[in-house]
Amino acid sequence: MQEENEHEPQLVSVTRIKCSEKTLRPTIPCILHFTEVTSVTGLEFLSQPGQEKTIRACYSLAWIIERCLPLKPDTGMEADVHNNSVPLENGNLAPVDRLRRDRSDSPTPGLVEGTEPGAGQDSAMFVHAQSFEDLTADGEQEQEEEVQVPEGGDRSERGPEVEKPRTEGEENEKMQGQPGEEEQEQEEVQSGGGRAKEEDVNSEAWRRHRKHVFVLSEAGKPIYSRYGTEEALSSTMGVMMALVSFVEAGKNVIRSIHAEGYKVVFLRKSPLVLVGVSRTRQSERELTRELLYIYYQIISLLTLTQLNHVFQIKQNYDLRRLLAGSEHLTDNLLRLLDCDPGLFLSAVTCVPLPSSLRDVVSSSLQAAKAKNLVFSILLAGSRLVTLVRKKDQYLHHMDLHLLYNLVGSSSSFREGEGWTPICLPKFNTAGFFHAHISYLEPASDLCLILISTDREDFFTLSDCKRRFLERLRRRSTYQALQEALLAPSYPVSQVGIPELRHFVYKSKSSGLYTSPEIPIPYQSEEEQERLMGLYQYLHSRMHHPTRPLRFIYHCAERENLLSWVTSGFELYLCFSPLGTKALAISAINKLLKWIRKEEDRLFILSPQTY
């Protein structure tokens, strides 16, 4: 830490030297996050100007920032930096004491995992997953320890981690990092519309997108860009790769670059490199997790084995050939990441159904089994109706998210019955399953996914579907199911708390969450994303790797939010800005009681296996 402190100013000054060179104008103080504290070689190289490597690395860095971040050359950056600096005392103390107090004051004793509302009766349907487990439990033993650059002094602002609101439990906590928001809304309008592939990558509009995602191969070849064509970005991606390999040559791994409210996050997943450039409030971990989703999306189409294989044969293979036509899957996944709470909660939601009805559907699906069938999943849009699995086989929620992204982003399954190889990367990155995908009726929302290990199983599964439908019809369940789907969710008013606008409740042991309809003030796409952004912000604060929190009451300008994590559940509430903290706390109790009362309908309490 000390060492880094010493190096820090040099980094800033070197960047400045770099920028004094003709081609690159802006002076951008930035902080490089390296995985290993001891090996600060990444910083050392910067202290030896003159070396060719050094120049190149500085050049790359400034170049990326210049390319990707919409900085205005005349911004008085250093001045901003001073304004944003945070008093030390406030930052370093984890509010442990206050936390305890909040918990003992809280109206409901913390429910133990497995007894919370929504907990399944038998075993869970999903692989039990901790939030963020994907970043840490991924075999590669990545160190998730964040290198904290000492705070205070004239350092640039580094996103939420060092922001002031470390005053959980305090009323009227004001959120920092808001200033960009108004600006953002304007830009959303500009950047609206479908896949703007032909967008000019040198234009201001391109730079102003809130979140860029780039995927490249280790040879620096472009594979995917969220905005603009990959061809137009090939030099940018080349430079990104140069930077990654430069840092790696020093036995180090680049994680992120923080500058002026922007984050450049790198995810190294050989043979791919994923880069996210964001100016949202999301933490580095959140962004890394999103990149991980994109990575798994690619794996789900190709398998890791095949991916490794093509790059072994030809290092500078153009992977776009094998991924042709899949861009819209990735585009859609990025949209889901912005508006579906299931993806950051590591959970799935289900259609509210009377439990008697759901049980008939589940048992009909269970009865329609076949030798190699591993999972039978009935979806209504992105909501689960039911899921039946082979005994001892668990589906990971990420794999389910990828499945419904696949189904939801393509009309291809509307015609006839689909049969496609698919890799479920959290299950096994080495091989394909084979999915029979079809809608129960051409115009229906109900989509049945049957997953087998055998690629010759098409007609066997087609027959399973027929048997399932027959059973449903015989018990007149089909009609009842269709009718229930006319109201695929419930209004928050059912809970009977007038100030409550919206909530998300996740039962940890079942991996399921429930949430009412998006209420009127949040129905526009931008507002919905903003609400999800707030939840996600609270989520990342509560699951902070080194300073986790259990309870947050947060007053923003347009709403008040409360979040609470216990060993059994996670709860996020959104109140009108007129509500008080006392009111919010009393609402928790009422809401939990309501969920308990309705749990039969809101969750899948008795999951089936075959």
Binding site: T305, A324, Q393, S412, K426, N428
Partner: protein, 236 residues
Amino acid sequence: MSIFLNLGIHQHIIRRNCEFHELWKLYNIEPLFSTGRNMSSQRVDAKVVLLGKEYVGKTSLVERYVHKRFHGGPYQNTIGAAFVAKPIQVGDKVLTLGIWDTAGAERYEAMSRIYYRGACAAIVCYDLTDSSSFVRLKFWVKELQNCEQQCKIYLCGTKSDLIEADRSIRQVDYHDAQDYAEEVKAEIFETSSKTGRNVDELFQKVAEDFHNSTAFQVMTEEREMDQRQRKSCCHH
């Protein structure tokens, strides 16, 4: 974590999937599979597969034939393959065609074998306005000639409405395609899924050829035998 609870099953899965991977590597080498008995169905009389480069219009062709409609909307590439069964009248008989609309994207190439194996007809499509799609067509024809000798080949030049609107955009010469068809003993059609031109004719021809083929005769005989046997069982 609990994902790998049951190692037995997983090994089974891994092995199976490696097989696909191997196939992908060596896909020119004929794997020693049995006949297409698994990927066929009682419901279907004749298996018909559509092959061809992505974007040539395979899905649109099936859509036109089966549903009599054309989506002018944005292009949606097929994922994996889609199956649809369609009854068709030939003479006084009604046959059911089992139509496999495969994805043209390269990543599914290794899977294509399971779709054309046991097929009695393959409709190999090319886009009249894209010469590279005809190059790709030749690849599929070779593949079929090597692996599936019984399968009758139909070449199908798509999007003929575009040519009619503007002759200059034709990239595959009519006579060249005709010559090639003769050389590989294939039928050839130029169709438009937008206007419907020649689409029904193509599938009608496929069905009639199948009806007149020995495969069909053998099949009907087998079925009759089956039925007779079953009847005699019941009597006992």
